[in-house]
């Protein structure tokens, strides 16, 4: 069957989709978007977390046919998604600081080619690459080790900060309770989410350290 839906702000079409196929398979194998990871295929690990009409879900548990006409955001589109959110909030300055390429700003979304070309290049971690604030915070806090769980954690953490600007540790733990990491022991991941939340809360520049926020 053919499935048509929006991924990262852009309309995508997939043909010859098997009726029992998951959204995760369509994203990875048919659309060339391997950011969402395939690990447990049973909703245990959260490494395939994407936003479906805004809600974080496990892409492995959504049938491809169920996303017809709906809106999906994957980790490949997270920077754009965060930038557009800031613009909507009337914070053009912040969005600008996170969007090195102004052409792909409001509403247009990342192109498929952009998404597939995504690679963290540059002199240092994250430099020369447009990142969502939560992605930068993961780099800065050293919250990435093997990196397999990272895309799912980024999508979940970004959604948490979107709806709760000042999450408590309990809020963070609950929001990330569906995402398994087998490397870091979670402490640095929690640090990263606290850092991202503190930066977002400290103002449009989005660059203040938590200490400076006071």
């Amino acid at each position: 069957m053919r499935v048509t839906f929006t991924v990262n702000g852009r309309r995508h079409e997939a043909d010859d989709v098997w009726e029992g196929e998951s959204l995760l398979y369509v994203l990875r194998e048919r659309m060339g978007l391997p950011g969402s990871k395939n690990a447990c295929e049973q909703g245990e690990c959260g490494s395939c977390t994407v936003r479906l009409d805004g809600l974080p879900v496990c892409a492995c548990l959504v049938a491809a046919g169920q996303v017809e006409g709906r809106d999906v955001v994957t980790v490949e589109g997270l920077a754009d998604y965060a930038a557009r959110r800031e613009e909507r909030a009337g914070n053009a300055e912040f969005a600008g600081s996170n969007a090195n390429d102004p052409a792909s700003g409001a509403g247009s979304g990342a192109s498929a080619a952009d998404e597939q070309r995504w690679t963290p290049k540059g002199a240092g971690p994250g430099s020369g690459t447009r990142l969502a604030p939560v992605q930068q915070a993961f780099i800065d806090a050293g919250a990435v080790q093997c990196g397999f769980c990272t895309p799912g954690l980024l999508v979940a953490a970004d959604e948490l900060i979107e709806r709760n600007a000042r999450p408590s540790d309990a809020d963070i733990r609950e929001a990330l309770s569906g995402n398994l990491c087998r490397c870091t022991g979670y402490e640095k991941i929690l640090d990263a989410v606290r850092l991202a939340a503190a930066r977002a809360d400290s103002g449009p520049a989005g660059s203040a350290e938590p200490e400076e926020a006071r």
Binding site: M1, W18, E19, G20, S22, E41, Q42, G43, E44, G46, T49, L55, P56, V57, C58, C60, L61, V62, A63, G65, Q66, E68, A156, R173, E174, A175, S177, G178, N179
Partner: protein
């Protein structure tokens, strides 16, 4: 395989009548696991996502009419006051990602003895409204579970609503597992006080082939509360009463040994949960709720 996408309820019923073996899929949190692991290869998947009324609920005088596909996350957010036991149980289901998709209708359709919705539905009082092209019927939830992963639905029926009695007193839910998230219940327990008719309902999950009400324990505590005049006096429950209630709930179990735990452990744990949760709801009823014995919210 064919993917059926009915646009509304009537189309869904017609599709189910035409393809009685079609597997309904709403949140997909059970069905997709079976497909991903090749445990199931149905001829037809019946997608219920486009049937709008399944995502709706209505709070009535005595009952909440809950759409079969209302995700657990909505129940936690919006129905905590009316359905406190179910909201507590919903909060222990899977993870945020799962709670955004999974629903009570799915729990009932799967009819796993470990489904977290079942004990609070049994304790609150609930009826499952099933419909087919032949008509509609309401099945008391006690009669809905017919065996391990088996329920009372006919092949052409779909679950439309679950009618859950609104709480008139405190309700509690407890569950045993290895962590606070992503845990299939080793065993679960729900208790509801019904002050308006001075009864107590209690139900157990994952400790018998089906979820069940602990009738002997309910009758014991309902009689004991009346005999000692506790509804009027509002006195604390005697330790002996709590202990006996726990023993009766344990005794009603018919558990198995499996990978998650032993039958002996399940029976013991049900007794402990029963004793504690009855204490919590009674303290809440007396307006002297204390958190002395834990009661931490599950993630």
């Amino acid at each position: 395989m064919e993917f059926l996408r009915p646009a509304d309820w009537q189309e869904a019923l017609a599709a189910k009548a035409e393809h009685p073996a079609a597997v309904p899929i709403a949140g997909g949190t059970d069905v997709m696991v079976e497909l991903n692991f090749d445990h199931r290869r149905p001829g037809h998947l019946l997608d219920l996502n486009r049937v709008a009324e399944l995502h709706e609920w209505e709070v009535g005088e005595e009952y909440v009419r809950l759409g079969a596909s209302v995700p657990y996350a909505r129940i936690i957010e919006r129905l905590r006051a009316e359905l406190p036991g179910l909201a507590l149980a919903a909060h222990t289901v899977g993870s945020p990602q799962i709670r955004n998709r999974g629903s009570v209708g799915g729990n009932l359709g799967a009819a796993s003895p470990a489904g977290d919705s079942h004990p609070p539905l049994l304790a609150a009082g609930a009826e499952v409204e099933a419909e087919s092209v032949r008509g509609t019927r309401r099945i008391p939830v006690e009669d809905f579970y017919t065996g391990v992963k088996r329920n009372a639905l006919a092949d052409d029926e779909l679950i439309k609503w679950v009618h859950v009695r609104k709480a008139t007193g405190p309700q509690q839910f407890a569950k045993i597992g290895t962590r606070n998230a992503m845990v299939i219940a080793l065993c679960g327990f729900a208790v509801a006080l019904h002050p308006e008719d001075r009864t107590v309902q209690a139900a157990v999950g994952s400790a018998a082939p089906t979820p069940f009400r602990a009738y002997a324990a309910e009758e014991f505590v309902t009689a004991a509360l009346a005999d000692a005049g506790l509804w009027d006096s509002g006195a604390p429950l005697p330790e002996s009463l709590l202990r006996r209630f726990g023993e009766l709930c344990s005794g009603a179990c018919n558990p198995i040994d499996d990978v998650r735990g032993s039958a002996r452990y399940r029976r013991h744990a049900v007794g402990v949960m029963a004793r504690r949760t009855l204490g919590w709801v009674w303290d809440a009823h007396r307006g002297a709720h204390s958190d002395d014995e834990g009661g931490a919210q599950c993630a």
